[in-house]
């Protein structure tokens, strides 16, 4: 692994800082306290100027000598310890391994330090924001949950990967795609198409859509993981490629698009690095069933959860554009949602042969 040693030590220093907080507080007979930025809707703002969701300044105190927080504090220190161990050994690991590494039964008791992974995961995110260190810098990776195919040549761990010669399956996007791990050596594509669903990505890949339209096909299998988002961002930034997002026509699809474009609420601190404010929403739009002649019977009735989520979206500051308000309201008034797969009702290759070509030709997308 190619790495810059200086940067690693900076993260290590930050992690050791957690121990310093405890030691310093103990010396002054103060309650050891960590100030952790709040990760919720109430502490994010949408920056109109750069089009990003940014984290506010509110922080919550996590102190040791508080019955409600003592355990969490202890766990935070434990996780920091495990992360530091990773730094020193220069290894990367998964969230689950961190959980197993930090789990043990506390001496002279029947209590475990952690009971489930649900307890350790948020602590890692807490440390990310508190120490202003990226997850990749902490050497924690997620599963490879994304694929890419197209005229793109990458170097991963010194291996040359030509994404045009990987058949239908493509290249599995690793969770850490920072330049020191993954280099983009050649890219001749005209744009990036980020598809929500693996099934539709397979359809496009099989039909060699990327060859016909000279584009890079990316999928995140649902909510795109950090690796996929970061790769899209790098292609957008470094190779000046426009990014188009193809999702289902439902509130969750809209939100996936908004996460790609402006960043997520939970990881607002990552927006700077991940978000692509110029990303375009290519479909499926609530107007498409009409303009592409999709019959009403391939729609799915919106359930209560969908409706509630759509209402929430309507209230988000980053969905205030007139076109977006119309888009969401149109879906609500029709009472139906459509999956990308529903396009197969017309023809198996409708997506590749008709839908996308027409969309691209007419430049029919939302910003």
């Amino acid at each position: 692994m190619a790495q810059k040693p200086r940067r690693t030590s900076a993260v290590e220093k930050k992690l050791v800082g957690v121990a310093d907080v405890v030691i310093a507080a103990a010396q002054r007979r103060k309650d050891p306290t960590l100030a952790i930025p709040v990760r919720s809707l109430s502490n994010v703002t949408f920056n109109q100027r750069n089009g990003l969701i940014e984290m506010g300044k509110r922080k919550q105190a996590r102190s040791f000598f508080n019955v409600g927080m003592a355990k969490k504090f202890m766990q935070t220190v434990l996780v920091a310890d495990a992360l530091c161990e990773l730094q020193r050994a220069n290894l990367t690991t998964s969230l689950r391994e961190i959980y197993y590494r930090t789990k043990h039964t506390i001496k002279n008791s029947h209590e475990n330090t952690l009971d489930t992974q649900d307890e350790s995961d948020p602590l890692i995110e807490d440390l990310e924001v508190t120490l202003a260190a990226l997850r990749e810098e902490l050497h924690v990776r997620a599963e490879n949950a994304g694929s890419v195919v197209g005229p793109l040549v990458l170097v991963d761990d010194g291996d040359r990967v030509d994404c045009a010669k990987l058949g239908k399956g493509g290249y599995s996007v690793p969770s850490i795609v920072e330049p020191e791990y993954l280099q983009i050596t050649r890219c001749t594509a005209d744009f990036v198409l980020l598809v929500e669903k693996g099934t539709q990505w397979n359809r496009l890949s099989e039909d060699k859509f990327w060859r016909t339209y000279n584009c890079i096909l990316l999928t995140g299998n649902g909510q795109p993981p950090r690796g996929v988002r970061r790769l899209a961002r790098r292609l957008h930034e470094e190779k000046r490629l426009p990014v188009y997002v193809l999702v289902d026509n439902d509130p969750w699809g809209y939100y996936i698009y908004s996460v790609v474009k402006q960043g997520s609420i939970n990881l607002a601190f990552e927006s700077q690095r991940m978000a692509i404010p110029k990303a375009k929403f290519i479909g499926l739009s609530s107007g498409d069933p009409e303009s592409y002649g999709l019959p009403r019977n391939v729609g799915i009735k919106l359930n209560d959860k969908d409706i509630a989520r759509a209402r929430e979206l309507l209230a988000y500051t980053w969905f205030q554009k007139k076109s977006w308000q119309e888009e969401i309201k149109r879906m609500l008034s029709s009472g139906l949602k459509y999956e990308l797969d529903a396009l197969a009702n017309k023809d198996f290759q409708f997506l590749t042969k008709k839908y996308l070509p027409r969309k691209l030709k007419e430049k029919d997308w939302l910003d």
Partner: protein, 512 residues
Amino acid sequence: MGISAAGMYGQLTTGKPVQIISRTSARAPAHYFEVQIDTKKNEPQILEKKQIDWESQRGTQVTMEVEGRYQKGRASVDEYIEQTIIANPHARLTYLTPEGETKEHPRTYPQLPPSPREIKPHPYGIELGMLLKMLQDTKSHWLSGFLAGDFSRVSPRLAEDICKAAGLSPRARPRDVHGQAAETLYKTIQSTKIMAPPTNCLSPIGETAILSGLYQQIKGDFYTAASRPPAVYRGNPFVIEAGLAYGRGSEQGQESQEKQAIPLAEGEQQQDDNELARVIRYANRVPLLYQQSACAIFKAVLDTSWRNYGVSQSRGALPSGPMVIFVHMASVWVPFTSESKEAIADYDEIRKEITLALRECGRRLGAFLRRRERADSEHRRRNIFELYIEEVVESCNRLKGGRLPTAKLKEQLQKMALARTGGEKTDELLGKNGSGPEGLPHSIIVTPEGVEGAVPVLIGEAPGGAVSSNGAPAEEEKTAKPSRLTGKTRRRRRGQRGTAGKPTTRAMRRKA
């Protein structure tokens, strides 16, 4: 079923008569009878009657042979006997099992219950048919005399008033009152205001005796008992008594703690038991084993909101937890739902009394649980910091590359922890909260340190008495209860005074 039905059943299944030996005093001879029932005429038949020599000076012995299946577990002979002991701690029971074992259950309560007094029926409590029969059978010559003489709480004046109100002559011959006149009389009686019947005819078990019975038979951490004042339904006086035993007892607690020492894996829980409470029901000291759900007692237990007392309870279900609920109804006439005498009928007055008694027990249990909870949480609060300091210090040490003066950091943190959890004040609070059933009348609390409260005196026949004091379920019979004896309370042992034994009361105080 009652003794006559039991004898009948024996006669039908084995053809053998009931054998009875009875003796009233040491000076009188013992009588031996063999009795059968003439099933055609529904009359008793005495097959044999003689005077015999008998080793007991006083008492009655009934022997009958019946056919049946001997089983263990629910609704078994063993359960019946176990429950009988709880409600009759004044009695000594010897049980010769079919397996050839001899189980001795000594007395655990020194006082005999007072014998009930006989009373005349209360006018509210009789049916029309009964009234007609009484009119026929009475020895009185006048109607008013019949009313005043054959019923309780009817004065001669009231009797005349009733007659007048019913439009009958007080001088009428009781035998001549029948048909329409009797019905009018019956209705008039029901609408006349008559004083409630006397209650000295009842023989309740008493709170201390119930407490003693529960404490001796059931393992637990907390016991309580509550008696209601006498009440009346349809002219029949009755008393409701309730008791409660909660917890697993200290021995089982220790066992489960040892079990927990194994580190828990993901998804495993500390202890997930959904054990439901057990209800034991009695009518006049006799356990009711069948038809639980048809019984007013069971319904009252279900309708009590146990959640108010810190016990969890699903909708329409028994409360859950290691708990035994004891309810006894003493009455001159227990209204059973059927002739088999398995369940008590649901009268509003009875239901109300049961509910009130259960609530009283529940309140005390709630107080006990809250107190224990408070002590526990205080204890936990202290432990939390103690436990986590170790972890935090170790982690910090590793973060600092093992170059940390750990002892110093640990000491600093521990000092702070002590200051924050109140130090000695907490200790005091703990001691105070964890003990003493103050404010909880007729209750016993068992803690690992000892037993507190109205602990009953233990009576053994011989010193060290071959006490096979059996635990609640039959399987636990052989387990001794050493923790009980190591209490800080004093216990007295006494020579037992059996029903026919010599009244040698040898009191001996000893510190256990």
